[in-house]
């Protein structure tokens, strides 16, 4: 997609409305069918879910696609008759992707009598939001990779349906040390809660393997130029970089700097690096050695192919114009699975009460999610298993087999 197209998407609101219309059209038939089945429940009050995402501010473009999977799930469920006959209604709140906005938004949702929340996105934003929802006993799934967010004792009402920083760090460290046989590992980290936790995990696993990081560079996400950080890594003699970068502009600056320095060490990082918009800012050769953590079910290698359900999901995404070029982010988002898991728990308990739902969620075992098998215990709210996670190559995004959201696993995985 050209930049001009994306510019249109940037205009707040337009992206959703248009893609919703598409979704609605797609599922219109099913909807009529569902309504018929639900019968008298048509008059039932809608089931309202708080929907926290930025519609203004710096991160609108990066964050909005992450919610499309969730929107798809809502539309699918509503078309099929809703949950126990109640239609799901999304109550939108704009957090501008600012952590400081979250407590106010939770107050707003709480005031509106809402007990279930999707979002926010970003570890800093999420941890800020979770602190408030925990106190208010609201069930929530955020897009927070920080391992802390999956701590069921600390945040008993928050459920993490994505790989966390511990898991990602373990995969990355393993790859660098065992698969690549490297010893001088550098860490490049954005200065966010995600970056902090990911680096802490990385250092932890490196030390476990008896390796000290050769250099740790922390950059502010709003810095106009990141060359200094990259050259610091190079000067430290690093031969592999574990990079915790969650946004494309930063990634572009980093990879372009590497290119201008003619330095191409293996880089592993977060799935956010898969966004095709990176290719608009960086030439493909600059990212040939770059890998991101990803869900096994969405990857292929010489012997294995992606899962059937995932392929079907990819085909569906191809029908939605707004999804184009954001397929990876839509796929890797926890919101699709969360909405379905919520439906599952409600239907299991036949209740919309928070206490009942929490009990059901806490005993989830091998729920078949799009991203992997999801399991929770009252203590462990990090639902994805290590076995479902892998590393995939960024440059395979231009491969035909990618279908938008598929990627080729890193060599040797």
């Amino acid at each position: 997609m050209s930049r001009a197209d994306r510019t249109i998407l940037t205009a707040a609101g337009s992206i959703d409305r248009r893609s919703f219309l598409q979704l609605a059209g797609l599922t219109a038939g099913a909807s009529a069918l569902g309504a018929g089945l639900a019968g008298g429940a048509a008059a039932a009050e809608p089931f309202r879910i708080g929907w926290v995402r930025p519609t203004t501010g710096r991160l609108v473009t990066s964050f909005n696609p992450l919610y499309m999977g969730g929107v798809m799930a809502v539309e699918e469920i509503n078309a099929a008759g809703g949950i126990l006959g109640r239609q799901i209604e999304r109550v939108e709140e704009d957090d501008e992707a600012l952590p400081s906005k979250e407590p106010g938004i939770v107050r707003k949702l709480r005031g509106a009598g809402i007990h279930y929340v999707v979002g926010p996105t970003g570890s800093s934003q999420s941890l800020s939001s979770i602190a408030a929802t925990t106190a208010a006993k609201m069930i929530q799934a955020t897009y927070a990779a920080a391992a802390e967010a999956g701590d069921g004792k600390r945040y008993p009402y928050h459920y993490q349906l994505l790989f966390n920083t511990d898991q990602q760090a373990e995969i990355c460290v393993d790859y660098m040390l065992k698969n690549q046989g490297l010893k001088k590992i550098g860490v490049l980290q954005e200065n966010t809660a995600f970056g902090e936790q990911a680096t802490a995990s990385t250092v932890k696993y490196l030390k476990k393997a008896g390796v000290e990081p050769a250099s740790v560079q922390v950059y502010p996400i709003n810095a106009p130029d990141l060359a200094a950080y990259v050259s610091n890594l190079q000067k430290a003699g690093v031969d592999g970089v574990i990079a915790w970068i969650a946004n494309i502009p930063n990634a572009a600056m980093i990879f372009n700097t590497m290119k201008s320095l003619n330095w191409f060490p293996p880089v592993t990082g977060h799935s956010g690096l898969f966004l095709p918009s990176l290719f608009e800012l960086v030439s493909p050769e600059a990212v040939k050695n770059v890998y991101g953590t990803y869900y096994k079910s969405f990857t292929w290698n010489a012997t294995e192919q992606p899962g059937e359900r995932q392929v079907a999901f990819a085909k569906k995404l191809a029908e939605i114009p707004g999804a184009k070029n954001n397929e990876v982010n839509i796929a890797a988002s926890p919101y699709y699975d969360f909405v379905y898991l919520l439906k599952h728990a409600i239907e299991q308990t036949k209740s919309f009460e928070v206490a009942d739902i929490k009990k059901a969620l806490d005993s989830t075992k091998d729920f078949p999610g799009l991203l992997g098998k999801v399991s929770f215990t009252p203590e462990n709210h990090s639902g994805i298993a290590l076995a479902d996670i892998t590393l995939a190559s960024v440059s395979s995004g231009v491969d035909k087999r990618a279908m938008g959201c598929m990627r080729e696993r890193a060599p040797g995985l």
Binding site: S100, G104, T192, P220
Partner: protein, 627 residues
Amino acid sequence: MAASVAKSRGLAGLLVQAALVVIVLALPLALDPYGYPLFVATQLGVYVIAAIGLNLLAGYAGQVSLGHGAFIAIGAYATALLTVDQGWSFWLAALAGVALSALMGVLMALPSFRLSTWYFAFITLAFAQVFEKMIVEWRGLTKGFAGVVGVQPPSVFGHVLEPAGVYWLVAIIAIIGFWLVNNLVRSRFGRGFVAVRDAPAAAQAAGASPARLKLLAFVIAACFAGVAGAFFAVQKTVVTPDDFTAEFSIFFLLTVVLGGLGTRWGPVVGALVFFLVPELLTGLESWRMMVYGAALLALMLFAPHGLVGAARSLFDRLRPKQAGQTTQPAETVQPQGAHVERPAISGLSLEVKDLRKSFGGVVALGGVDLSVAPGTCAAIVGPNGSGKTTLLNVVGAYYRRDAGAVLLGGRETKGLSPQQIAGEGLGRTFQTPRLLGELTVLDNVLLGAFRRERASLPGTMLRLPGAMAEAERLRAEAMELLAFVGVADRADDLASETPHGHQRLVEIARALMGGARLIMLDEPAAGLSMTELDRLEQLIRRILALGATVVIVEHHLDLVASIASHVTVLDRGVVLASGAPQAVFADAAVMAAYMGERALNEQASDQLSDEAAGEVARPRPVPAKGA
């Protein structure tokens, strides 16, 4: 009649204010205590607290700070980190935050002593930006971008405050803060702030140190910001660097400007409009900032005094004009003030020896000697550019002398600041009157008493009885002095709307109010009408009669001849002649200096020579200057 109108208006104002307080405090009863509106109301209260402080700093003291957000950040971070990480109680943590913020206020004040307004504005903007960067960079302390999460509300007597309790706390602090600052701006400190902003030289002449007043304004503003920051942390429960961007700081200044810089209600109105309107207009979203920008631009162009200023001028326009309010020629009202009794003044002597001053190679004073006995009137005359005003400025320490001695009452003044010299009993007026146009005539006279007033800062802010009694006493004395100089009827007029002739008299009253024992008058007669001139002469005679010493720089030679006992003629920075007026004016060289070499001296001496008495001192020949 006018007084009763004012009183009833004051009463109405009081009622309105009381009603507002009741409404503000009753808000939680009407709103869902856990709901969003109360959340917004609490936040608004926090902003109002910060804006009140900034208004004092930027509005009254004239220090345009674009770094106010940094002070709020200090309060917020200190509170958040000390409560969350260290387990301190909110109250202790908030106190530490306010103290740190005040400390930073002291540091921020330092550049303001040296830099001009907008240079300083830029430095503060840079500071705000750097401060935000440092919050991010010092992530070991501040947790970087992630911020501090989970700030708990304060507890009172072991009772954790619910949202409504936090609201009440914030509201009460905002109301008290409003009251305190109002008391402050109506005190000598407030007059001092305005003087620092509008006429620093007048502040110094009144014995007020601009540097100290700026420092005070900074510290008070920083304390308010620190308090606001503490509640910011509590109210949001999360503190992140994103909250304290340079933009946030700019918004605070814009808030105060929008409301009306240097007006009492400006910060309240500004914060309400700036932060509440977007909550009401959610549809505005990303247009918000552009709309703000455009509104601000329009406001600066069409209503430079903000919303409050615009409302006031609209009110003034709608109100029927009261008779006698407009500026009328000074002649029409003529209280002579001769009947007013004043206590005697023990005049100071002035001794100037070989005083030298040059500006970038141009000699303004080339070794001037002058001696004025206590209780006498000495005049300094000379053509334009001869160094008369420079002499006054060097004596008053507004300029640093290059060499020479200045003895005031026998004491060398070297090293003293202008305000210290004012405190020694040196009063002065300026060639163009330096009055504070936005204050009343009475307030302008009261400014003179800045150094005499003893009431402490807490005393004035809290309106303690001692401070109030002193203020009342000084007010009465200022009225008396206005009567003495003959403009008592103008006491409540704005100085800017007072005729020129009266402004000169007000300046003299201000100097007397400061307890001046030696008054330097710089061309007091310039621009006066005949009758005003007459009154000026009478006034100077009465001041002399009280015992004060007067040094007058003047071109009206006959005024000089009639009141001065000693005349010094300056020409190109040196004393051309000095002695009794009759003798000096009879001197041919003097007339030459005034009217050209082959001057009209025949005529002048014709008239004066009959009475000529005393020797004319001729210190040294005039050095030929030039190519």
